[in-house]
Symmetry: C2
């Protein structure tokens, strides 16, 4: 497929069709970002189902902040799906460079390192965005429309899947960076964020299942 | 939105837009099924990237079986996204029935019980389909194109998110069934499948991370 077209403009059926095809791109990295965008959309939905309701008036500032934040995350994750596919395709292009002469081999090795860095940073941004999504879901749990609370649990589950899927894509590219120090640093950053995502997802789930209301956050006075 | 239109025919951007809107439908149940379809598509991709390759010839029977099975699951999960939204909308319709007279209240109560059953069975089918997806991913791990093995890990993560999200939607509807025995039975069936999904996802991940090849399954002699 033409990876310069945007996945967001494909129908859902077309996107799963290109995902299922025997082309390596799009693959797990793009699927991770799309799953993250589903989570962000659910956070936006819950905030939209809460804003302006007298019963949740004390959380009006949170809802007003969450809606544009979640919308921005939906958009960012849809862009990341395209970026991930481009970065992955760039890696394939670098791998196919000629390697007959010493010079060609040096050029190819440098191109592979550069492509590996791009293919690492793109899923890293999906990890970061997933953390922002689940942080919003956790803030909204107990502070939003109770009839939609299970959607926050689903948003958290989508964030975990997006984050761990993107993290797996970070890890497979690290050995190709040709920079052990940088690889170690990126690994630790990714693991730290993945742990935070799991923790926030558990808290969201417990809050939703517990069913209790919470007071406003200090950042969002009623 | 008109829920009689199919989600598969919306663009990805349109689907996340209706998901993010302040309408309760589509919600977490539809997102769960779409995430499941991403997992099934990745299983199909890995099988497509493996079939016909001499290096994986001993697994040809598995690949030939996995491709149509994964494609059928992609399709089934896309249909389930629509069904879930319809069932959820039906529940809302039942809740809005008049309840002035005893007769109206009886009719409404029966309609709610019936709608709750439909809204339970639809995510239950998403749980079942997710289990089938991750079972295929686990079978392919160590028996398919190594360059795409991380995509099996992502497929397993998508199955877990789809299954646990759908399970959350089963559980919230059980109290409205008005049948404790049936609710208990459906709870245990769902929990049993969710445990199996988690177990198969862990095995897929361990197999992928270990990086070892496996021999053909007894069901798929080379």
């Amino acid at each position: 497929m033409d990876t310069s077209s945007r996945f967001r403009d494909l129908t859902v059926a077309q996107f799963v069709e290109v995902l299922a095809s025997g082309e390596p791109v799009p693959g797990g990295g793009a699927a991770a970002a799309i799953a993250g965008s589903l989570g962000a959309a659910l956070v936006a939905m819950v905030a939209n189902l809460s804003v302006g309701r007298p019963r949740y008036a004390e959380h009006a500032a949170l809802h007003a902040r969450a809606i544009p934040a979640a919308q921005e995350l939906v958009d960012r994750l849809l862009v990341l799906a395209d970026e991930d596919a481009e970065a992955f395709a760039g890696y394939g292009t670098a791998m196919r460079l000629p390697r007959e002469t010493d010079e060609e081999r040096a050029v190819r090795a440098a191109a592979i390192r550069e492509a590996a860095l791009a293919a690492t940073l793109s899923p890293l941004r999906t990890v970061e965005a997933s953390l922002e999504v689940v942080a919003l879901a956790e803030e909204l749990a107990g502070r939003s429309n109770k009839n939609a609370s299970s959607d926050l649990e689903v948003a958290a589950l989508m964030s975990v899947a997006a984050c761990r899927s993107a993290a797996a894509n970070v890890y497979i590219n690290l050995p190709s960076l040709g920079d052990e120090h940088r690889a170690r640093e990126l690994f630790e950053r990714t693991e730290g964020m993945a742990d935070a995502v799991e923790r926030l997802a558990s808290r969201t789930r417990e809050q939703v299942r517990g069913g209790e209301s919470r007071g406003p956050l200090p950042a969002d006075p009623a």
